[in-house]
């Protein structure tokens, strides 16, 4: 890859990481104002996974995500207006205010939804990959899951099926060491590399807080899957800076752990690849974009009750 494209990529990745960070920071404010229905799970500290993985995908590639899916949606191309309006439950939201934080989806861009059910996105990605395969599309499906989801039987069913049918699916594990309120080393006895080996599935590990590393590993692995090499696993070691949900008092958490996370901040590391003027320019742009989208969402009208029932079935 040439120098220019290297720089372009670094800029692009930094922009995505930053957009996710600023968007989620804005969400925390909106939540505190009481504008967001329900609870939200922020991905602060994990943004490089979303940015790096989605950088390797085309618009026709499909993604299923998790309860912590804001970053994935943004990185896959969901517009910020639609994103914020959805989070605020507005009619102009991506899902017309029906889904909210845990269900941000943009089917036209291959973002098949965040998901409120742990592990549930994985077989959906598998099915999407099956469609790619049968319809002869030059496309891959990506199943994002957290390390906590390794305890769900669904992961294992999906790995077996993916390998058996040689499906063009990439499993991306966001391994942040936590599953809800408990460290995953107290939940899971096996490691993903050994599990992958048992299934004959390629496993690649990467520092999930180094967006350049994620992007280049993802590009490599996705290329293999795209060529028909069958399923693969990309395990991204990352950090959940906050609690499980925004507002989580994090009773059981060691303060040292939080400090260690701060030192690995993917945003700072992504910025280090840029010149100061480059970074500052992107920051100004992103700040303006977020502000505009938040303003749009704040002003957006709520959905109308009269329209709601009409969407249950296709008319």
């Amino acid at each position: 890859m040439g120098k220019t494209s290297d720089i372009a990529r670094a800029r692009r990745l930094y922009r995505t990481v930053l957009t996710i960070r600023r968007a989620e920071e804005a969400l925390a404010v909106l939540l505190a104002e009481g504008l967001i229905p329900g609870f939200i799970h922020l991905s602060i500290g994990q943004e490089a996974v979303a940015a790096g993985v989605m950088d390797a995908l085309t618009p026709v590639d499909t993604v299923t995500s998790t309860h912590r899916g804001h970053g994935h949606a943004i990185a896959k191309g969901m517009g910020l207006d639609a994103f914020f309006a959805e989070l605020l439950g507005r009619d102009s939201g991506a899902c017309r205010g029906r889904g909210g934080s845990m269900h941000v989806a943009d089917i036209s861009r291959g973002m098949l939804g965040a998901n409120g059910i742990v592990a549930a996105g994985m077989p959906i990605a598998l099915g999407s990959a099956l469609a790619h395969q049968i319809l002869g599309r030059d496309a891959v499906a990506v199943a994002i899951f957290g390390d906590g989801a390794m305890a769900e039987g669904l992961l294992h069913e999906c790995l077996n099926l993916a390998r058996l049918w040689n499906l063009p699916v990439l499993f991306v594990c966001e391994n942040n060491g936590w599953g809800e309120f408990l460290p995953t080393d107290r939940q899971i006895v096996f490691s993903l590399d050994k599990l992958a080996a048992a299934h004959g599935i390629a496993h690649v590990a990467v520092d999930g807080n180094d967006v350049a590393a994620v992007a280049s590993k993802a590009a490599e692995v996705v290329a293999g899957v795209r060529k028909g090499g069958g399923p693969a696993i990309l395990e991204c070691h990352t950090t959940r800076v906050g609690g499980h949900y925004e507002g989580d008092p994090q009773r059981g958490r060691d303060p040292a752990d939080r400090a260690a996370n701060a030192a690995r901040d993917p945003l700072i590391r992504a910025r280090a690849a840029l010149t100061e003027p480059d970074a500052a320019k992107i920051e100004a742009e992103v700040t303006a974009e977020i502000a505009a989208a938040v303003a749009f969402a704040r002003a957006a009208p709520p959905p109308k009750w009269e329209d709601a029932a009409a969407s249950v079935y296709t008319i």
Binding site: T64, D106, G113, P123, T314
Partner: protein, 324 residues
Amino acid sequence: MTELRYNHAVNRAMADAMAADPTVVLFGEDVAGAGGVYGATRGLRDKFGADRVRDTPISEAAIVGMAVGAALSGLKPIVEISFIDFMTFAMDAVVNQAAKMRTMFGAQCSVPMVLRTQHGGGAGSGPQHSQCLEAWFAHVPGLKVVCPADPASAYGLLRAAIVDPDPVIVIEHKALYATRVPEPDSLPILPIGKAAVLRPGRDLTIVSYGAALRAVSDAAATLAKEGIETEILDLRSIQPWDEAAVLASLARTHRLMIVHEAVEAFGVGAEIAARMADIGFDELDAPILRVGAPFMPSPVAKALERRYMPNADNILAAARRLLA
């Protein structure tokens, strides 16, 4: 005379749909090589290829979840779960994913998948292979549920389910697969949500569906000998169900009974009775009666299973109460 068997009608519906639309695919445990536990998928892999007709591992949760994803990405999957009892492993994909996606994604997409399964007793299959769980699915907004009672319905409703843009659960009945009728002149696609009057009558209405209709017909024949004319409605669709047809029949007979093989308590009959106790109240000349399975797991012993399932005796007893 050529005849049409129920399982062949199911098979033909899939074959015709797959021939008409290359995005229709079929997968499930032993559907390809073995042709399904009840032979309903036999020969389809040979006709349409191993790409479109696939045997899966024993992974119900993943299989049904996969159908959801396939439906989101351009296929029209038909997935077979060989006994409805095994749906207990796949409820998330059906209920939390397929059923909700259209609404929770703000109508960005439809989820055009069909889940074929079968329910019911009478074959000594025991408590974990005889359940009728259709009421669960009927309670979930976003799903449609049909229960074909005869070969023509098996064909017509399955074709309708496959072209329907939303998730449809097609529930066949293990005791019906071998039933046959004279080959019909035509096999139309049947609309989901429409009931059929199987027998007209003026004295009482019996609403039923699936295999229970046989006992209902037997009971009606006995009543007819006594000069009592039973109107029999085959619901065909459970969700949505044909409220207008039931109400119209009730308005003719003023007496209503609902019969199904599922456990009576909190079953499909409850909804029909409840709805008629509301919108049909003024038409009622007698209590609304239900006949369903008693509140116990279905027993395997023949002597018990016979009594467990709704039969002509139960139905007659209820009819006499209704007409008293």
